[in-house]
Symmetry: C2
Subunit: 360 residues, 2 copies
DNA sequence: CTGAAAGCGCTTACAG
DNA sequence: CTGAAAGCGCTTACAG
């Protein structure tokens, strides 16, 4: 009945020490002196005996106990809107990898982008005494971040940025620009944006990069051609439905998220049109399904896994007292079939859309 | 410079006690006496003063320290093949919810179904002193599980079952049967299975339920009409390509996973055929995209989120010493367009496939 | 080079 | 009803 924590009887420092007839503190010192056998912590001979026995007994130090003394848990809290969003799941895989490599473990929690949940999950993480937080669901204009800063909780943002706080993000303005340039080259003049949630920098920046580029080309994008939406399939479908009511209809749609783009593709099909032929669509992120769609999706690839890894590195640098600044990773455009041969057919399309609208 | 763990200066039991002029042990006793104000732990008056101050100071007990004494961390380890698999991500959301409600926190790690990684991640979890494990990536014939049992590590399986160990799964044999009955009713006689990985009970059971039902109807499914595959889009596509080489070609395909089914749909289109019209396809799980596909996918819905919740509950019952037995949740069939009007066209299809093959 | 002590924040019998 | 002590497993100055 002595088993308590999983794994039953666990070997402790004291066990090791008494088996070798030396003091626990000596064992501790040796085990902390890095791989160079002793480094002044003990004689090479004792050090070797200790290491040997530790290995043999499968000793693994109790992080609870160590943390109690050192005040460092080697734990990171990660907050995301939802792990069932593939984009965040991939970023988390990057976090998981990097954290493991660097000796950290992570808690992940879903906030569903609800401010109350964000606060609650943050509290849970802090109650667990994490060393710091990776925040993947930051809203612009954020009281929680101010508060965390005041409380000196080390954190970095990932995925979404907020001015004034260190973050690991994609250069989303550039991403929007790439999408715009691509569509400009294809000759599109009436374009629309499915812009995501208004509280997320991702959507805002991608939209800004896109509309600024069109404006600079002398083709400003009208306000009612920019529609906010959730970042999922349903959101994209709904937004596209709205765009179908605009006149003239857009000949190209930039959705700031691949899943929203997929929803838009569905709406386009429902209207009897063919993406890539009748109307161009560009998504964002290049999730794995994008290339596998019936009509493969042109998209802006963002380095999702890398962002996760980077967030871990930045946070660790904050632990070490460094004053880290934000990093934006570069996206690239992946042209595929949904922007194949659309622009030339502009007139044709508009008349076909007019027909559709009169049927309504 | 006194800040160390995130959150800086933290209120301790001792702080509370000295502010009230009582002993820390009294404070501890009160805070542990549940919501009934004192329950013999102290006078109602002191109890109220203590609770009041604890609230005011935002006291939250240090779980490291508590765990060190009690040998219970209230931590669970969760191992999944990959969180970027939506099916597992949803299950994890169920785990996350239930664990939070019941006062537990969880670590999740990806094993990528690699036995070495499974072992490594398990070790990391145990080194973190989790109270137990939820294993979502179990392989049939599993040395690791035997070892964990020998070491008295409490664990439950989720998603995939292994005979002899407690698990929270979907009744996959039933699921396979539902798919088969549906296709039988539509009149299909030449059917095939994209069966998933051979080490996963999910694929095995779904395939067994399916083939047994067809066999019982006097229509045994030939061995070369059952093809193993990975559980993703690529795996499904490859398996379908192989099935196109069979003669007679199947008029219906059961894929044990929706993503594999989506891959099969791609292959079908590549062959110039239309799913739901020329060939029936049934998937498994009913992930959110299934209903949103150009041709919505008929599938067997599994209670993914519920499985996660259930796994948490079972594990906690194991902590309490209960001898828990496995639970299988029931799936239901969701008929959609990919099995709309296929069976009648059998002959027609077969001749069309023959034509295709001769072109190769 | 090694030992001994103190202490991290908590809990839990044991007294009284 | 409350206090005081011991101890969970570790780390870290401090001696010597």
């Amino acid at each position: 009945m002595e088993e308590s924590t999983a794994g039953g009887r666990t070997v402790t420092l004291k066990d090791l020490a008494s088996e070798l007839g030396i003091h626990p503190s000596t064992v501790s010192r040796i085990l902390h002196s890095g791989s160079d056998v002793a480094r002044g912590a003990a004689s090479v001979a004792t050090a070797e005996r200790v290491r040997e026995l530790a290995r043999k007994r499968g000793y693994s130090p109790d992080p609870q106990a160590a943390g109690l003394r050192t005040r460092r848990t080697h734990l990171m809290g990660v907050i995301v809107p939802r792990l069932s969003d593939l984009v965040l799941a991939i970023m988390y895989e990057g976090i998981d990898e990097a954290a493991a490599e660097l000796g950290y473990s992570t808690f992940v929690m879903n906030s569903r982008d609800d401010p109350e949940e964000q606060r609650r999950k943050t509290d849970t993480m802090l109650a667990r005494r994490v060393d710091g937080l990776i925040i993947g669901d930051a809203h612009l204009d954020n009281g929680l971040l101010r508060e965390l800063t005041a409380r000196k909780v080390p954190f970095v943002l990932m995925n979404r940025r907020v001015p004034g706080y260190p973050s690991a993000t994609c250069d989303d303005v550039l991403g929007g620009r790439l999408a715009a340039q691509h569509l400009l080259e294809l000759g599109h003049t009436t374009v629309a944006v499915i812009a995501g949630e208004p509280y997320a920098s991702t959507g805002i920046d991608r939209t800004a990069g896109f509309t600024e580029t069109f404006a600079a080309a002398g083709l400003p994008v009208g306000g009612d051609y920019v529609i906010h939406s959730s970042f999922d399939v349903t959101g994209g479908r709904r937004a596209a439905e709205q765009l179908f009511r605009r006149s003239p209809a857009p000949t190209a749609i930039f959705a700031v998220n691949d899943f929203a783009a997929i929803g838009a593709l569905g709406a386009i099909r429902d209207h009897g049109l063919t993406p890539g032929t009748d109307i161009a669509v560009v998504g964002y992120n290049d999730v794995s399904v994008a290339a596998e769609l019936p009509i493969p999706l042109t998209t802006v690839r963002s380095p999702m896994r890398e962002m996760g890894r980077l967030a871990v590195e930045l946070l660790i640098r904050r632990f070490e007292g460094d004053d880290v600044s934000s990093v934006r990773l570069s996206p690239i455009l992946i042209p595929r079939a949904t922007t194949d041969s659309t622009a030339k057919r502009t007139e044709q399309l508009n008349s076909s859309l007019d027909r559709q609208q009169s049927l309504r």
